[in-house]
């Protein structure tokens, strides 16, 4: 969009914004992961509880209560003055899954963090991404003291499609987190290209 210059001088830069989700079970290191690369300390924001929370939130005595706080971690990486990547840590509690709808819409892709000591923690996130065809990469967070499993064992345990990348990572390490994010973007490119090919052939 072409706009006139503001009187104060050159117009502010309006960046292209992209988002990647950071999902996984409770305590798997989502906040740490976001914090390792974000140029701002992980900020928390909150959302409004919708009807979706009704069956699980006990509102007896406070029937008029319509809002609750959902913590949502997010971080920012300015790749270029005009290109900014945002990371959103998904809320861990299952009763806040209604938030996922909004978070996943328009997302480039997702990282599903897994902890081999309790792999089942990431099952819901894997299921969600598969069902919605959201391009995702599984990042196995290598906690100290946890047994290191080969990537192929994790893939098998999660019953993942061979096309889904599985990478070992350390959520505390900036370099490691950067690599995982690059893998997500790379995978999203292939994912989109493959979808394009399917459209052409059918």
């Amino acid at each position: 969009m072409i706009r006139g210059r503001s009187e104060a001088g050159k117009p502010p830069i309006e960046p292209v914004t992209l988002k990647i989700l950071v999902a996984g079970g409770f305590g798997v290191g989502k906040t740490t992961f976001v914090g390792a690369v974000s140029e701002i300390r992980p900020l928390r924001t909150e959302e409004v509880l919708t009807e979706a929370g009704r069956p699980v939130d006990d509102v007896t005595g406070v029937e008029g209560k319509r809002t609750t706080t959902v913590a949502l971690d997010f971080g920012r990486i300015t790749l270029r003055e005009d290109l900014v990547l945002y990371l959103f840590g998904t809320p861990g509690q299952e009763r806040f899954w209604f938030m996922w709808e909004e978070l996943t819409e328009g997302a480039l892709g997702a990282v599903v963090l897994a902890d081999t000591r309790r792999l089942e923690g990431c099952f819901p996130a894997v299921d969600y991404c598969e069902r919605r065809s959201i391009p995702f990469v599984v990042g196995v967070n290598c906690f100290e003291g946890a047994v290191r499993y080969p990537v192929e064992d994790v893939r098998e345990a999660l019953d993942l499609d061979p096309s889904i990348p599985v990478v070992l990572c350390d959520a505390r390490e900036r370099e490691s987190v950067k690599q995982v994010l690059a893998a997500v973007v790379q995978h999203a490119r292939h994912h989109a290209a493959a979808a394009g090919r399917r459209q052409v052939t059918t």
């Binding site: 909150e46 809002t67 997010f74």
Partner: protein
């Protein structure tokens, strides 16, 4: 704290919670016609020719704050919510008001499907590696 310990609850200062409930700022509105589901990463930009918000009595302090913050550095809805310490839903309503009154405009994020053939994703990968 009450001194007799029996007379019931007395809350003071921080214990009493926020003085104004968040949705009081939106006069109870939880949605806005103009917001059309503003994405968390939609970028809010102050109109370069916008009137001085301080002279507009219809604006709340939060409205003015958003206009000022987005003047030099456009900000995403999520950043505004975090920086102003307001729920995202409240920020959406306030930004919707400001769009109506042409104080700000909003750049919606490009859907990933439209980025595929562009060089942006390559730029993102290179940018991440170069960090």
């Amino acid at each position: 704290m009450s001194t007799d310990g029996q007379a019931g609850h007395h809350w003071f200062d921080d214990e009493a919670g926020p003085v104004v409930r968040p949705y009081a700022m939106t006069r109870g509105r939880t949605s806005h016609a103009a917001q059309h589901r503003l994405d968390l990463i939609a970028v809010v930009v102050t109109e370069p020719g916008a009137d001085d918000p301080d002279t507009d009595d219809a604006l709340s302090p939060e409205h003015v704050e958003i206009i000022e913050r987005c003047r030099d550095t456009p900000q995403t809805v999520a950043e505004l919510a975090a920086d102003l310490d307001l729920p995202v839903g409240v920020v959406r309503v306030l930004v919707g008001d400001l769009m109506d009154q042409e104080y700000v405009y909003v750049n919606r994020p490009v859907p990933p499907a439209e980025l595929v053939d562009e060089s942006i994703l390559r730029d993102v990968i290179n940018g991440l590696r170069a960090l």
